[in-house]
Symmetry: C3
Subunit: 308 residues, 3 copies
Amino acid sequence: MGLKGRDVISALDFSRAEVEELFRLAERLREEIAERRILDYARGRLMATVFMEPSTRTRLSFTYAMIRLGGAVVDFGPEAATSRAKGESLEDSLRMVDGYGPDVIVLRQGTPGMAEKVAEVCEAPVINAGDGWNEHPTQALLDVYTIWRELGRVDGVTVGIMGDLKHGRTPSSLSYMLSLFDGVKIWYIAPDPLQIRPEVVERVEGRVEYSKTSKLEDVIEELDVLYVTRLQKERFPDPEEYERLKGSYRVDADFLRKFRKIPIIMHPLPRVWELDESVDSLPQAKYFEQAVNGMYVRAALVKEILGI
Amino acid sequence: MGLKGRDVISALDFSRAEVEELFRLAERLREEIAERRILDYARGRLMATVFMEPSTRTRLSFTYAMIRLGGAVVDFGPEAATSRAKGESLEDSLRMVDGYGPDVIVLRQGTPGMAEKVAEVCEAPVINAGDGWNEHPTQALLDVYTIWRELGRVDGVTVGIMGDLKHGRTPSSLSYMLSLFDGVKIWYIAPDPLQIRPEVVERVEGRVEYSKTSKLEDVIEELDVLYVTRLQKERFPDPEEYERLKGSYRVDADFLRKFRKIPIIMHPLPRVWELDESVDSLPQAKYFEQAVNGMYVRAALVKEILGI
Amino acid sequence: MGLKGRDVISALDFSRAEVEELFRLAERLREEIAERRILDYARGRLMATVFMEPSTRTRLSFTYAMIRLGGAVVDFGPEAATSRAKGESLEDSLRMVDGYGPDVIVLRQGTPGMAEKVAEVCEAPVINAGDGWNEHPTQALLDVYTIWRELGRVDGVTVGIMGDLKHGRTPSSLSYMLSLFDGVKIWYIAPDPLQIRPEVVERVEGRVEYSKTSKLEDVIEELDVLYVTRLQKERFPDPEEYERLKGSYRVDADFLRKFRKIPIIMHPLPRVWELDESVDSLPQAKYFEQAVNGMYVRAALVKEILGI
């Protein structure tokens, strides 16, 4: 694979062959880790994690991934406790981190497109772990890896992505990565003001079949996968509208049992009210596995980027 | 010892034989660490630390313990900088951590009884490092280990536990662990509104002899150990009452020197005004040793739980 | 070298010979790290980092330094998430950390002179990583190391130190370390109310030649090094005075190009407006190298203190 030394900024930075190779490598690492717990691939290698915005899952799963590979991780620290409070620019902060010579930098920050700029000034490969509402390519990797593991294929699947599609980076990166495969159908399920951004569908146009709806009930029986995301109150101009709509974007076991077929249920987590705990015990609930898959596929990605 | 893979939720989860075995192992580890600094027992093993409430001493001593054993530690990070801010439930957060496959999870959080619930959903053994006012079993381990080291025995000792006994988890866990030994006498020294909770004395009833008092002076000469804890202003309904009582629950060198016999002085730390720095230079002051003992006995516990 | 086990509190704790030996060792470590990434010198050794005030650069560069040497680092954690919030004294906190047996403690805190007090109660060697406005000796080490690397010598150089000289610890420590060398000339460039503190010039009196000025333009062509630091708005009693003066203490590429000779430009970073990004592309800009030099010279210092 040609991933050695490469920056990962967008889900579209990967070819289909690369993605599939990463999935197979994640499967092998899963077995090796089950057997030996901590491997030797990254012995003597350093990952720098820089999270300018809160994250637990992504930060921890990259950290565990690197430690499982045998490497070391140095975290930049929570933003409040750092010089960023003194007004330093993101570029300066990252140039500093890069100067200490890490083998890979994992970066989350709030400005769309900034991950790319930072990658240009850094010698180390940069992995975009979320740049505002723009992209989160390794989330897409673990999402599609989960579909691949659970359904045995990605070609031809029908995926419903539900919630606040407008402000999320998960729906965009997931759409991009699904577009690498053949015959995928996406249902974007959201109230009109929170529907998918035009630039996202433009980029997948002609490569996936997609439709929009505001009603989950109308399409759920078509879906192989229902990907639930949060609907945030603060996004609604009118709070009454929010209260009125809330119920339509909430999934619980009783609701799901009304349909002839229940798709596998995914969620990037953390969840709040939109995905009820009653769903946890259904065999279709795959979100906890999905989170764990993140560690393995990120380990695979890091291994390839380090060329080890 | 049968501690391999076991959760540690309450001080009563241990038998006397297990506790004594841990103390002896702590002594052996102390010697090995003095000689070789970092050991190999936990090579390739991972500890996850999750502190949802502030802690320095407990978090650091578990961290040093694991590193001294040769293992690695991944901290969940300060709560404010995490998805918990997004409203995720504690169970979801811990299920995620557990999914990354740590060999042991050390958890502090504020809800009494919640450590047990979390332990049920986690595959990894969970060590309760404080669940609100309820329990802090490894604090009790290091407390009783300190008594055992300093006095050469635990059977038959008389221990005064002073301060806010009602709201503290230290007095309850210490009482439970002392009740594993024979002939222990406990004096609960506190103003009436802050006396020990009924359910605590019920659980030790018939296994330790205990009495309550509000006056340290009356009982100090009987004590082998005086265990000082904080008296918190915010616990008093009447602030004037607090100011009036304050002096009676404060220990300094001048006060101690008034008595024929000075017991060994312990404190879980951090201390504020209740234990004056003038005590530090007395030979009976054992609280700094007590803190250090925490690292060794926690290392012993982790070693046994990991079965290494 | 006799640095083994020594505390580092002031830039004047070093002899010239020791400083030069550290620079040569930093050069050797740079080559070894380029070749092998993580070395074995500090295998089995522990560094405790305690930052009671925000820091990114210093904390990270010590952390990377220790990891590059093959050792482990345990951070005390951000202050807000610790027992310090409960009112524990700094001495008690450090006594605790010291009790866990680290091989070296790196401490930043806000009270001038407190690093020395803490060093007295700790068994482990203590490195002062900033004690309020007082000193920051390892910053001086990396500053002078940068001059030595860039100019090939320190003797006889002329250094302009500009900005808020009164409240900064960087100008004092840098002055002290420069005074170990022969024939150094220092220009202190600042508005009168922010000029260098009298006790600083008293300590270098007779060992360096120095003058004060409020005008950079008047002296810049004399300088081999221009060391820029921040001018903080909150330091000015009169905000209008600040706005009026601001331009005189700001360096950009257009300004520099007006002079016949441009000195090398240094800055402890983080920078805000006082050092414009237009300077970054000039060959004289050395502040990013300076930051990276910090990792190597700190690695050299730690190696010597540990005696490994």
